[in-house]
């Protein structure tokens, strides 16, 4: 065998071994790739199925969202119309706010004017207060003067009362002396009646009943006629009302300006003597 042939045989053997190894490895790796590819294809199919499902769901969701979007568009349109309306209202309100601001400024000016007026009035009030204070002081002084005058008046009244009492005592004395001169026994503040009642002589005397009271079943009347009017104890007067005779009045006690007498109705019932009835010294006029 030629040497070249031998060398070729060796090369062929070596290449055969290398080719066998490479082919085995390649086959194994290719099988792995094929199996992996099969798995990937299965995954791709599943993914495609899922994609289809999700696509259909997405389409449904998209249609639903489109409907919602149309609804939202309608809502947006409504809101836009509302917004326009509100903008109009806002404009109106802004105008009103401006008017209110102007009014507020006017009111502030008025308040300022009123403040000035108030200051002026406060000054006037201050002046009036000072005047009132002065008047109060004057009033107080006047009151003190009045108190002094009242004290003096009381003193004068007391003196007057004393003088009146003196005058009264003198008049009683004069009346007693006059009675002694006339020969008639007359005693003031004497006891019960004595003798026959007598009418008052001279010019007629007119008076009025000032009080009526009843003592032990006997009615007594107080009149505004006294000893200065020639009324004496046991004098007989006539009580009338509206020019009508009511009863006789027999004097039982006299004073200077008043007298008390017993009412004599002459046995009649239902006769009532009241305050204000007229007392006459004679009924003949």
């Amino acid at each position: 065998m030629h040497i070249i042939t031998k060398i070729l045989v060796v090369f062929a053997a070596v290449l055969s071994l290398a080719l066998a190894a490479l082919t085995s490895v390649y086959a194994l790796n290719a099988d792995s790739f094929v199996s992996a590819l099969s798995d990937k294809v299965a995954e791709a199919d599943a993914a495609n199925a899922l994609y289809e499902t999700q696509s259909s769901q997405f389409a449904e969701q998209a249609s639903r969202m489109e409907s919602q979007l149309r609804g939202r568009d309608e809502t947006i349109a409504d809101l836009n119309s509302d917004l326009a309306r509100l903008e109009g209202e806002l404009t109106t309100l802004e105008i009103r706010a401006k008017e209110a601001t102007d009014s507020a400024a006017q009111v502030k000016r008025q308040i300022g004017d009123l403040g000035k007026t108030t200051d002026t009035q406060a000054a006037i009030v201050e002046t009036l207060t000072s005047e009132v204070r002065a008047l109060r002081e004057q009033n107080l002084n006047i009151r003190e003067q009045n108190i002094d005058l009242l004290a003096r008046l009381n003193d004068i009244e007391t003196e007057n009362e004393i003088l009146n009492q003196t005058k009264r005592a003198l008049e009683v004395t004069i009346a007693d002396l006059q009675a002694q001169i006339d020969g008639t026994a007359s005693t003031t503040l004497a006891g019960g009646p004595s003798g026959t009642p007598t009418a008052i002589s001279g010019p007629p005397v007119i008076g009025r009943v000032s009080a009526v009271r009843e003592v032990n079943g006997q009615r007594f009347a107080e009149i505004n006629l006294g000893s200065r009017d020639r009324v004496r104890q046991n004098s007989k007067l006539f009580i009338t009302r509206e020019d009508r005779w009511l009863a006789d009045l027999v004097i039982v006690q006299t004073d200077i300006q008043s007298a008390v007498g017993r009412v004599d109705v002459l046995g009649r019932n239902g006769v009532e003597v009241r305050e204000g009835d007229v007392v006459l010294s004679s009924l003949g006029g």
């Binding site: 065998m1 030629h2 070249i4 042939t5 070729l8 045989v9 090369f11 062929a12 290449l15 055969s16 290398a18 080719l19 190894a21 490479l22 082919t23 490895v25 390649y26 194994l28 790796n29 290719a30 792995s32 790739f33 992996a36």
Partner: protein, 67 residues
């Protein structure tokens, strides 16, 4: 006796082998094996997990391309 041009039976010198048609076929086979080995090397390199190592095996259940 061969120096005398005479050959004795069984005494003839062995004929030395030369290139013949079988050597040609063997050469063609070697060339084909070389080409196939080269192509398989390239193909195995493409499916091998390691770059430049055509005889590396892929892990079971996990395929990766040469790095």
């Amino acid at each position: 006796m061969s120096q005398f041009g005479m050959n004795m039976p069984g005494g003839r010198r062995a004929k030395r082998g030369g290139l013949d048609v079988y050597s040609g076929l063997l050469c063609f086979a070697v060339l084909a094996l070389g080409a196939a080995t080269a192509l398989m090397y390239i193909a195995a390199t493409k499916v091998s997990p390691e770059s430049g190592n055509p005889i590396a095996l892929q892990e079971t259940g996990r395929v990766q391309l040469p790095r």
